[in-house]
Symmetry: C2
Subunit: 209 residues, 2 copies
């Protein structure tokens, strides 16, 4: 007996959130009408308002959903290593992968100005996943891996380059898929904050050129 095909009854909420993510990320929240979402999701406008209350409700639900997914991801990745060095590298690797696999998700999380359409939500930078990043850096500092300095400065310096590469990639400025830049980007970020620089040539002792 083959596995059951995709169930006929697909959850309406998911249908709507999926379409909304596409549209919001692609053309912006304000350039997207609820009727656009109706068309893209196949769900009627009555059902949409029944489930989400108003247009902002759609964005709120979307942000909550993606925020939770993201926090889960950060927790998972962080749990698989015990040094800040390895955690930060794995995290950037994961973010780079996600940028290629789900650019819309990343655009919504990293790039959208949530304050403009969700005036009550706290700014992105203080949302859970970003706070977790700071905590990760804080532990690295306590363990003596990261130089002692302001935590905001440290986490901005460690991840700022990677974040910029992500937004640049989403903007079409970066030609290659991000994983191609992982080693270079991470090693720059790590040099920025590490107590001791990596031996700049682990095996390649020659200086090029």
């Amino acid at each position: 007996m083959p596995a059951a095909p995709v169930p006929a009854r697909v959850d309406t909420r998911s249908l709507v959130l999926d379409a909304a993510l596409d549209l919001f990320s692609g053309q912006g929240y304000f350039n997207t009408s609820v009727h656009d979402i109706v068309r893209a999701s196949g769900v009627s406008i009555g059902s949409i308002y029944h489930h989400f209350g108003d247009k902002e409700g759609i964005a709120r639900a979307l942000q909550a959903h993606l925020g939770t997914r993201m926090a889960q991801m950060v927790a998972d990745v962080a749990a698989q290593a015990d040094t800040c060095r390895d955690q930060s590298r794995a995290l950037i690797a994961r973010l780079f992968d996600m940028t290629e696999a789900e650019p819309r998700t990343m655009a919504f999380l990293f790039y959208a100005r949530h304050r403009e359409f969700l005036p009550d939500e706290p700014p992105v930078c203080s949302s859970r996943p970003f706070v977790m990043l700071r905590e990760l850096v804080e532990r690295g500092m306590a363990r003596g891996e990261v130089r002692r300095m302001d935590v905001l400065v440290a986490s901005s310096s460690l991840f700022g380059g990677a974040f910029r590469m992500i937004t640049s990639r989403l903007d079409g400025i970066v030609p290659e898929p991000l994983p191609a830049y992982l080693d270079a980007v991470w090693s720059c970020g790590w040099r920025a904050v590490a107590v001791e620089a990596e031996p700049s040539t682990s095996r390649r002792k020659r200086s090029p050129r």
Copy 2:
């Protein structure tokens, strides 16, 4: 509404652009109606449309104006030093100062999603000032100050931390005025890309001035 003490000779365009910058940065382009700009600028809607054609025209003029100012600033700062090291430091210092003095300007340039309301303009990251930053890094690489690597990676790593501090400050996450963090932020960025790390403690054998 603050009436300008200097009466007669105020140019209408500047009045409008000034009000628009405030409103766009404060509440977003799409949350600002042309009537809001009328109220804030004291200029009639007829005059506004006479000068700018449509609402996008206001945003375009604003971006052109600020982009030019910014490019000029980058050129000025870069001209006052001849190493990438000093140029990058002076640039970040200037950006930090501007963030405190003109947060609205910085918010519009760094934080607004121009693509959403100016679909024809190139993305911010490829605008003139940002390209100048990459060229600055490129010259540093040619001079042997900066390690050889992808230019996008290098400029993202050198300035990414500072940019993140700026947006975090605009978001209200950073408590102190940015100049307080200048040394820490710049030295992280520079360590990230420099061929040789700075001596970590504060003995600076700088040439004066």
